[in-house]
């Protein structure tokens, strides 16, 4: 029993953090908002040099061969930077979905390209009515009637659905399933899609932790700098206590996300509960951080020019991706109220032994 990350894991996290601080500034995010594709090709290839898109790709296919316990810290950093890139779909969901689907030819063709930063994946999961960042994807992994299909983007017709966070582009996808596009069906497809949902929700939760941390940091910095009544507004308890509450919510979401990462990595059945708890706790922390950060800023926070909304919009949109609060609350409720599982003291890690 050791609930802590290794020095290697923390080192990789801080490497990615430093990189994004330099290469994914608010100016760059805004420039990508305004660009036609919304995608930073240079940024993506540099991320690939660090190994991020191929973190879960096996060594044999040129990836880092890591698991969710490593990736969760990197995704946190992508949230902290409000990174506009298809990292969840490619690194956290698409790559392991391809890997586990087990089609040798498809893996040989695509996984090395994913790891090298030469191919982007988009995932059309039944939990999400739109396919995020499909417009820049090379390969689409799409669910259809309980089956899983893979097709190149050129084989589908995409309709952009402009949405609240300009950094996440949503698409409706029209395509024709066929025997040639099908990569899994029946129980195999169901298991793959279930795993994809949990990986996606976990990844979103990890990003939400980073978003919440950044929102709190921005709000505290502003409260120190902005003066009214002759003193920094951060010296007023009315604001201090709101910010303290954000910190409480954030710090009690964090270990839930880390436990869920562990449960997904080792593939236990109770990962479903852990992931749902993580998704709820982290996205609610991010949503609350957004609300408080805006209030601390006052009118200036309500402007387009202020960078605050880079993270606020991310916080709002993450709430819906890979299952909203109602969906995840239902999954936890089923476990706690109907499952008959032991849920008291001493039972927290029962599935891990």
């Amino acid at each position: 029993m050791r609930f802590a990350f290794s020095d290697d894991q923390l080192l990789l996290q801080s490497t990615v953090r430093d990189f994004l601080k330099k290469e994914c500034t608010p100016e760059i995010v805004r420039a990508l908002w305004a660009s036609e594709s919304g995608h930073g090709a240079v940024l993506w290839s540099k991320l690939a040099e660090l190994g991020v898109p191929g973190a879960l790709v096996p060594d044999a296919h040129g990836g880092m061969g890591l698991d969710e316990r490593d990736l969760v810290l990197l995704l946190e950093e992508t949230g902290r930077a409000a990174l506009p890139a298809p990292i969840v779909a490619t690194a956290a969901v698409g790559a392991p979905l391809l890997r586990d689907a087990g089609s040798g030819a498809l893996n040989d063709a695509w996984l090395p390209r994913v790891a090298a930063g030469d191919a982007i994946l988009a995932v059309g999961h039944p939990a999400n009515p739109f396919v995020t960042d499909a417009g820049v994807a090379d390969l689409l992994l799409l669910a259809h009637g309980g089956e899983l299909h893979a097709l190149e983007r050129s084989a589908a017709t995409l309709t952009h659905q402009p949405a609240n966070d300009p950094a996440r582009r949503l698409y409706s996808v029209a395509w024709t399933p066929s025997a040639a596009t099908r990569i899994a069906s029946g129980d195999v497809a169901r298991r793959l899609l279930d795993a994809a949902l949990d990986r996606g929700a976990l990844a979103i939760a990890a990003q939400a932790i980073g978003v919440a941390e950044q929102l709190l940091e921005i709000a505290v910095a502003y409260a120190m700098q902005r003066e009214q009544f002759g003193r920094p507004i951060g010296s007023f308890q009315a604001l201090q206590h709101k910010l303290a509450d954000v910190k409480v919510k954030l710090e009690y979401a964090r270990p839930v996300v880390y436990k869920a990462a562990h449960s997904v990595a080792i593939g236990i059945a109770t990962r479903v509960v852990d992931v749902s708890h993580a998704k709820l706790a982290a996205t609610e922390a991010a949503g609350f951080a957004a609300r408080v950060a805006l209030q601390v800023h006052g009118a200036i926070g309500y402007t387009w020019e202020q960078d605050l909304h880079l993270w606020m919009r991310r916080a709002w949109s993450l709430e819906r991706e890979f299952g909203d609060a109602t969906f995840h609350l239902d999954r936890v409720s089923a476990f706690v109220l109907e499952g008959g599982a032991a849920i008291g003291p001493g039972d927290t890690f029962q599935a891990h032994d």
Binding site: S235, L243, V256, L280
Partner: protein, 401 residues
């Protein structure tokens, strides 16, 4: 990261579970804030200590089991799971004990720790005064050093003043607290941490009835009460730092291990399931959220313990813990009372009160628990003070008070 227990830890859990199953009293004890209940709880502590389970993480020489903090968490889980009695000497075992371990002389450790572990000496807290509540540095009670300075070990402190809200004061043997040794000092400077036998001439204890009707705390008056200088913990006028360490233990890890809240959450789930047909619909989500929060508190504690075993220290983040568990405890009891409806208003002796408790080993009275949970956001530093601490010491905002 490895979230499985080692075979040693599993064996430790099995051993604790077997012992507790065999020894935990079958009938619930009366409240330890009553004369009879205090005696029952002292008797239970003797049994616990006899089995070597009273102070699991302490060194064997001080009456402990020499276990690490992870094993202590496991023991706590088993303790609450077994429905074992509350710890009458929590001030001693969870607050003063660790403080003596950190600041005490070898003589003080040998003198006090074994009797804390066995609860032969039950401790009361002596922080608050009528004019020093949240503003603890405003303490006015004094300790004047007296006696022959050529024989320092024969010197003593003469105590004067008043403490109040002294938890367990009504039934305790000793009191620890802060006294002003330097009359010219201001605020937190010039305070000294002193250990006082409550039977000392000049000490008067006056119990105070609490909101729940029991005398869980007391006023304590000092009128030229003399205690040996050997009863000083830490240096003279260095008491503030000692007290802050004690407060840290109270807010977080030691006193409020997660098992207590997980057990309440488990009971709440059981209560909801028993009453599902009649419970207000919106209590369902609350019950599930309470359970999630109790789990989150456990996960955070495991993470903290892993960090401490790796050499880390606990600092201001104990304030995060205190807000989280106290508000969770209150929320769980509020939810339970909403599920119970009118029955939640009944005292245990009401004929219609049957079934009000959860189907646990013994009936749990949610109304009693609710009244107790209301004190959580107040004691150990109000939650407003905790938010000030977080703002200033964790977020780096300017001091606001």
């Amino acid at each position: 990261m490895d979230l499985s227990y080692t075979s040693t830890q599993q064996a430790f859990r099995a051993e604790a579970r077997a012992w507790l199953t065999a020894h935990v009293p079958k009938a619930a004890l009366r409240s330890f804030d009553t004369v009879e209940g205090a005696a029952e709880h002292r008797a239970w502590e003797r049994i616990l200590n006899g089995g070597g389970w009273a102070m699991v993480p302490w060194p064997v020489e001080y009456g402990g089991r020499g276990a690490n903090l992870l094993e202590w968490l496991i023991f706590e889980e088993e303790y609450y799971r077994a429905g074992a009695p509350r710890r009458i000497n929590q001030n001693g075992i969870f607050l003063l004990g660790p403080t003596i371990m950190e600041f005490g002389t070898p003589e003080q450790k040998a003198r006090f720790l074994p009797k804390i572990a066995s609860s032969e000496e039950v401790w009361a807290q002596g922080w608050s005064e009528p004019n020093a509540g949240s503003d603890m540095a405003a303490i006015q009670a004094t300790a004047r050093l007296d006696g022959d300075p050529r024989q320092p070990s024969s010197q003593y402190y003469v105590l004067n003043g008043q403490k109040t809200w002294a938890s367990r004061g009504a039934f305790a043997d000793w009191l620890f607290g802060l006294f002003r040794t330097d009359p010219a000092s201001e605020r937190h400077k010039g305070l000294t941490f002193v250990l006082v036998p409550l039977e000392t001439p000049g000490v008067t204890v006056r119990p105070i009835a609490q909101l729940d009707g029991e005398t869980g705390f007391a006023e304590v008056f000092f009128d030229d009460a003399r205690v040996p200088v050997a009863n000083r913990l830490g240096g003279e006028s260095k008491g503030w730092n000692v007290a802050m360490a004690t407060a840290g233990f109270e807010r977080g890890l030691m006193l409020r291990s997660p098992a207590r809240f997980q057990e309440t959450a488990r009971k709440l789930v059981a209560l909801y399931r028993e009453n599902e047909a009649n419970a207000p619909a919106n209590t369902r989500e609350e019950v599930v959220r309470c359970w999630m929060h109790a789990e989150a508190y456990a996960l955070d504690t495991y993470r903290t313990v892993s960090r401490l075993i790796g050499g880390g220290k606990i600092g201001a983040e104990a304030s995060l813990n205190k807000i989280f568990w106290s508000e969770l405890d209150l929320r769980m009891h509020e939810t339970a009372l909403r599920i119970l409806g009118h029955r939640g208003d009944l005292l245990p002796e009401a004929p219609a009160a049957t079934g009000v408790g959860a189907p646990a080993l013994r009936v749990y009275n949610w109304l009693d628990g609710y009244l107790f949970s209301l004190s959580g956001p107040i004691y150990a530093g109000t939650n407003e003070i905790q938010r000030n601490v977080i703002a200033e010491r964790i977020l780096g905002l300017p001091r606001s008070f």
